[in-house]
């Protein structure tokens, strides 16, 4: 018999008995004693919760807003919409004469009196305008009036506005031109009556042109812009709440005292910044048939005032059970650094995603109210 194989068999047999093992259990945990490591949860109320002026960028959003609304809580908000179009017209269309043009507006948003009759004025835009990086309080100079007013009910979801025959005749060549995109500068939509701001869907709204030979071309919206004017006339906002509003602003500014004794130098397992929505104030100040949409989607950004750097930490947190909860790995990283006395940011800002383009409203309580914004931290102690 070969001795090396005897040895090998012996070793394998021994090793087989040795490698049979189980996961470590809590056997011996009594010897460890009070060594800590037990996670705990602590709520840190917002140290400061204040308004931060905003210049919301509303160009080329999913919708454009127009109208004017008096909100007994917030005052008067006036919105003006600008839209421009493009089309790929057929040869038959271009060879004929435009007979009728209809502006089709698909309403998908309402803020204000749900029973209102709304009258809008339509003006031509004399020059090209930009919808990129335009602040919400921008004013663009309009051109000639096309329609003094067209009226519709706040409940209507599709508004079709035939444009005057003289305007059609005057713009016949432009509408059929290959240079339509540069020769035509779009419309301005402003309000003349009705206590509501309405929003029209940019994808579903269009300009419909029909020639004498019944060739039809749909001019889709190529760009849109909404601008706002906010007046605090008659506003009655309680002093213990902070308004956060899409479109006009303001956005919220938050700071927390993370370096308090109970939290500093601890390991962060989880952090959730929670914004309880103040709904009772809104409910108490809402007239009959008045619709005031709640701002239910928000971004949380971290801002370093010193360097001017800012970064979105949580995108599109949504309202659930009366609370908007912000949570992400990026937020955890930032808060962990704050717990260790670093200052990657000076404060948080809360703002609506620019793409939504609404006038939606969120009220939050100002500290020291119990339901003021808070940061809920799950921590593991670093000491024993």
């Amino acid at each position: 018999m070969r001795i090396d194989w005897i040895i090998g068999a012996l070793l394998i047999g021994l090793a087989s008995t040795l490698i049979a093992c189980e996961d470590p259990s809590n056997v011996g945990i009594g010897l460890v004693g009070e060594e800590g490591g037990t996670p705990f949860i602590v709520d840190i109320p917002g140290a400061t919760v204040s308004a931060e002026p905003t210049h919301d960028l509303t160009g080329n959003a999913a919708r454009f807003l127009t109208g004017s609304v008096f909100d007994p809580l917030l005052g008067t908000t006036t919105a003006t919409a600008y839209v421009d179009f493009f089309a790929t017209a057929s040869a038959d269309f271009q060879a004929s004469t435009v007979d009728t043009v209809v502006l089709r507006l698909k309403r998908d948003y309402l803020y204000g009196d749900t029973t209102a009759t709304i009258t809008l004025m339509l003006r031509a835009m004399p020059e090209d305008w930009s919808a990129e990086d335009v602040p919400a309080d921008t004013t663009l100079e309009p051109g000639d009036v096309i329609l003094e007013g067209f009226t519709f009910s706040a409940a209507d979801t599709l508004i079709e506005v035939p444009l005057p025959a003289d305007w059609v005749a005057a713009n016949d060549e432009v509408l059929r031109s290959d240079d339509f995109l540069t020769a035509f500068n779009g419309f301005q939509l402003t309000t003349t009556a009705g206590n509501a701001v309405v929003g029209f869907n940019g994808d579903d709204s269009s300009l419909l042109a029909v020639t004498a030979s019944e060739d039809t071309t749909i001019f889709s919206i190529t760009k849109n812009l909404s601008t706002y004017v906010q007046q605090a006339d008659g506003a009655d906002l309680p002093p213990d709440v902070l308004l956060i509003r899409d479109g006009t602003g303001p956005m919220g500014r938050l700071t927390f005292d993370f370096a308090r004794d109970s939290t500093r130098q601890q390991v962060l397992n989880r952090v959730v910044v929670q914004l309880p929505a103040v709904e009772d104030v809104l409910a108490a100040n809402t007239p009959a048939n008045f619709h005031r949409p709640l701002l239910s989607t928000l971004n949380l950004r971290g801002v370093d005032e010193t360097s001017g750097n800012a970064a979105t930490l949580v995108s599109s947190a949504t309202l659930s059970d009366g609370v908007i909860a912000f949570e992400s790995a990026d937020l955890r990283t930032i808060v962990q650094r704050l717990l260790f006395d670093e200052t990657p940011i000076t404060h948080f800002t809360i703002e609506a995603p620019a793409t939504d383009n609404t006038l939606n409203v969120l009220l939050v309580r100002i500290p020291p109210a119990e339901d003021a914004p808070r940061a809920r931290l799950t921590l593991t102690p670093t000491d024993n």
């Binding site: 018999m1 070969r2 001795i3 090396d4 040895i7 090998g8 012996l10 070793l11 394998i12 021994l14 090793a15 008995t17 040795l18 490698i19 049979a20 093992c21 189980e22 996961d23 470590p24 259990s25 809590n26 056997v27 011996g28 945990i29 009594g30 010897l31 460890v32 060594e35 800590g36 490591g37 037990t38 996670p39 949860i41 130098q265 390991v267 962060l268 397992n269 989880r270 959730v272 909860a325 949570e327 955890r332 260790f340 809920r376 799950t378 593991t380 670093t382």
Partner: protein
């Protein structure tokens, strides 16, 4: 039964097989990590090592007075004087440990580790020799976990989590020794030792829910310092018969002051952040006194008995260790270790005897009273038995040693844990003639 002798090729194959089995085993099972050892290694500087040589290990450890043609004995620098061959040895050990508490809960752990690397050579045969060794002085390798639940107001159900307490690392020891034989009875030696290492205690809080990050907090203590060992050996031939030899060995390792830094960090190993400041400090380890006897009645039998005493009650440190608080009470106590063992080589000096008669068969035991008391006035005892084979090869002076150790440590009383451990050690011990002076004939 005829047994083929080990050729160099077979020797290599058996050695590789041995190492492969041992090295592959730790990665074969999930739970087998470097931290899967005795919970008692959590205390003090960890579990103290006692390896001296493969031969002595299979005879219960110790072996302070062992003199052997086949093994270098770095335990006693005086024995370095008695060398003929240049030697190199490498030992690995693999241990399975079963821990039981008073409720009969069982935890089974396994770990592999380096036993020692040794190199020695004679400057003058049987007169003056040098030895270099690297081996663990202490080892921290425990892991124990507790499951619990966190009540989070944001969750309908409690959030399960586990806290795992883990220790790893330990102190390593590098020895450089010199032994000198004064006359046919008396040898002296001295060893300079550098102790260094990193002892880590980690606390890992883990959640099943990915919304919660795990928390790893580690306390790392880096220590280093120099010390020395003085040894003496007295050999008395023909004490009871014309063929016997009695050897008495003694050594004292001097107290050592280790300087160090302690830092607390959090995060994974490669991405740690420091918590607080680095604490500089020191720890003074006590002296270690050993006494050993070896009696060789003839060329077939060797009997040994050893004792060790370390007054750890005098341990001082500016750092807190489990069981030791510089500002409070210390549960360190004096360490005692007794061991005994026997070796028989049936063939004696007959190199032409059948293979199995040239194998060295070893047996031993030891008792160890640990230097820490897990709870107040509760001593920690380890009792173990050893069995070993010393397999000769066709290369004179070269052996493969296999040792099995089975022992028990602790008790389930007073909320302690009783550990039953089994270990398998493999040691390759190579000896060759180097530095021969050529002579003109």
């Amino acid at each position: 039964m005829s047994v083929a002798p080990l050729t160099p090729l077979r020797l290599l194959r058996a050695g590789l097989l041995t190492l492969a089995v041992l090295m592959a085993a730790p990665t074969a099972v999930h739970a087998q990590e470097g931290t899967d050892g005795s919970i008692y290694s959590r205390y003090g500087l960890g579990q103290l090592g006692s390896f001296t040589s493969a031969q002595a290990h299979a005879m219960g450890g110790g072996g302070l007075a062992l003199l052997s043609y086949n093994y270098a004995n770095t335990a006693n620098p005086a024995s370095l004087s008695d060398q003929v061959l240049t030697r190199a040895s490498l030992g690995l050990t693999y241990q399975t440990l079963e821990a039981t508490d008073v409720s009969d809960n069982l935890s089974r752990l396994a770990s592999g580790s380096l036993q020692a690397v040794q190199f020695s050579f004679p400057l003058r045969q049987r007169r003056l020799g040098v030895g270099v060794a690297f081996k663990p002085y202490s080892r921290r390798n425990y892991r124990v976990a507790v499951d619990s639940e966190l009540t989070d107001p944001d969750r309908d159900e409690p959030v399960p989590y586990a806290i795992s307490y883990q220790g790893n690392g330990g102190l390593q020891q590098v020895d450089v020794g010199l032994g000198y034989r004064l006359n046919r009875h008396l040898s002296f030696g001295a060893t300079g030792s550098f102790l260094f290492g990193l002892i880590e205690d980690a606390r890992v809080t883990t959640f099943e829910d990915p919304a919660y990050d795990d928390a790893i907090v580690t306390e790392s203590t880096r220590l280093s310092g120099f010390t020395g060992t003085l040894g003496a050996m007295l050999t008395v031939p023909r004490l009871l018969s014309s063929t016997d030899l009695l050897a008495v060995g003694a050594s004292v390792m001097l107290p050592v002051s280790l300087d160090g830094d302690r830092v607390r960090t959090f995060g994974e190993s490669l991405d740690r952040d420091t918590l607080g400041t680095v604490l500089s400090g020191s720890a003074t380890l006590p002296m270690s006194a050993r006494l050993g006897l070896a009696y060789t009645p003839n060329s077939r039998w060797t009997l040994i008995a050893d004792g060790l005493y370390e007054p750890w009650s005098s341990f001082e440190s500016s750092y807190t260790f489990s069981g030791y608080d510089p500002a409070g009470t210390s549960r360190f106590t004096d360490r005692l270790r007794f061991s005994g063992g026997a070796e028989v080589v049936p063939a004696g000096d007959d190199l032409l005897a059948p293979y199995l008669r040239r194998v060295a068969y070893r047996i031993g035991f030891y008792y160890d009273q640990a230097y820490i008391q897990p709870t107040s006035s509760t001593e920690l005892h380890t009792v173990a038995g050893t069995l070993g084979l010393g397999l000769p090869t066709l290369i004179p002076g070269t052996r493969i040693d296999l040792t099995i150790e089975v022992g028990t440590r602790g008790t389930t009383e007073r909320a302690l844990v009783r550990e039953l451990f089994y270990s398998l050690s493999a040691n390759v011990n190579i000896g060759e003639r180097w530095f021969n002076k050529r002579k003109l004939r």
